[in-house]
């Protein structure tokens, strides 16, 4: 990792322009003013003013360290810098997978943004989001709605919300989805040429560049999807304080960082929820209900 030899790539993701020494083919290229740098270097052993001290991470107001053994240690600071210290013989593609999910989310938190664990599509000129816990199928539903009704995709796993002049806005993330084998089958895709996200995880990376919209949108609707135990799909509007309590659970890494960013999150989340309607959908966990789910969501979108 000779500094002098380092090539840098410039990308745009989550409304931010990034200069990176690590190649990130999932991000869109950019030529705008750089706001964030990603480079190889030495990660501090520990933080001086740590507020939260975990098993493999430390967090302070402006700094974050996380160690993913045997891949790399990451240092994120001031919302504008990420330093990666790879372990010996670690695969660069594997390191990048941590970088563009869990690590970059901490940078988003540091920048005062609200990263939700949600996928998203563009409907007319507004954003419709699908918040769900891991494994419920938020990537799959966004891709299916794109395939069936042509809505452009804006996010796969993390959707960033911010407030400009007290109005909530949604930034598109990047044009790549992570899909399990069953999602690939449900969507009728072929996986023979798809790369794994990591050598040890049998989840595929699916490039959806042609179907992607990159930009800023006003939010319209949020669907919170959960696995239920009934055969049919149930949909119900969430109102009042419930809306806040439900969506708060879908802030990315909410439990880990809440005590540091709670005030900022409260402000953005309440502004978001004042402008959107929220629906909770309970779907059956086992049966293949993707088509029914897409139709239910499409019906709701059409009524709006």
């Amino acid at each position: 990792m000779d500094k002098k030899m380092a090539t840098t790539y410039t990308y745009s993701a989550f409304g931010i322009n990034i200069s990176s020494e690590i190649k990130i083919p999932e991000f869109l290229p950019s030529s705008g003013d750089i706001q964030v740098t990603v480079s190889y270097g030495e990660v501090p052993k520990k933080l001086d003013e740590k507020i939260i001290n975990g098993f493999r991470f430390q967090i302070s107001a402006d700094e974050f360290i996380i160690r993913y053994k045997p891949w790399a240690a990451f240092y994120v600071c001031n919302g504008n810098k990420i330093i990666i210290q790879p372990e010996k013989d670690a695969d660069e593609n594997d390191i990048k997978t941590f970088l563009i999910s869990s690590v970059i989310v901490m940078l988003l938190h540091q920048r005062g943004l609200l990263p939700l664990h949600a996928s998203g599509i563009k409907v007319d000129n507004k954003a419709v989001l699908f918040a769900a816990n891991a494994g419920v199928g938020k990537s799959t539903i966004a891709l299916d709605l794109n395939r069936k009704y042509g809505y452009p995709l804006i996010a796969d796993d993390v959707t960033v919300v911010s407030a400009i002049n007290n109005l909530p806005v949604v930034y598109s993330s990047f044009p790549s989805a992570k899909l399990w084998q069953d999602s690939i089958e449900m969507l009728g895709l072929l996986n023979k040429d798809l790369p794994f996200i990591r050598k040890d995880v049998f989840k595929y990376r699916f490039d959806n560049r042609p179907a992607f919209f990159s930009g800023i949108l006003e939010p319209l609707l949020i669907f919170v999807i959960e696995n239920g135990d009934k055969e049919n799909i149930e949909i119900q509007e969430i109102k009042g304080v419930d809306k806040f309590n439900v969506l708060r659970q879908h802030i990315f890494r909410a439990k880990m960082i809440n005590e540091i960013y709670a005030v900022e999150h409260f402000k953005i989340l309440t502004q978001l929820l004042k402008s959107v309607s929220c629906f909770k959908i309970l779907k059956h966990n086992n049966s293949n209900t993707l088509n029914e789910l897409s139709v239910t969501i499409q019906d709701t979108i059409k009524q709006w």
Binding site: G240, V241, N245, N258, A262, V263
Partner: protein, 92 residues
């Protein structure tokens, strides 16, 4: 029991936001969340300016179907409760 010499007013440091007819609040120092139902939300609205118990009760009686005795007892309990939680400040 709360007497009418005491005026209550919102703790201005609290973050509060209306969600339909309810209010969600957060105490910035403790990070604790609070929720107010529609009636409590109405009292919170009144407490933008200092009010004593009787002033609050008089206003609620014109808006909600409740007897003066019940209203006074419940509002009094509520004020004690949210005062303990430091959601409102007292002044003589």
């Amino acid at each position: 029991m709360i007497n009418d010499k005491i005026k209550f007013v919102r703790n201005k440091r609290l973050l509060a936001s209306r969600m339909d007819d309810e209010i969600v609040m957060m105490h910035p120092e403790s990070g604790k969340y609070f929720a107010l139902n529609p009636v409590a939300a109405r009292i919170w609205e009144l407490l933008e300016t200092p009010h004593n118990l009787q002033e609050i009760v008089s206003k609620l009686l014109t808006e909600f179907d409740v007897t003066p005795e019940t209203c006074k007892a419940q509002v009094s309990d509520f004020l004690e409760n949210i005062s303990e939680k430091k959601l409102i400040d007292k002044s003589e």
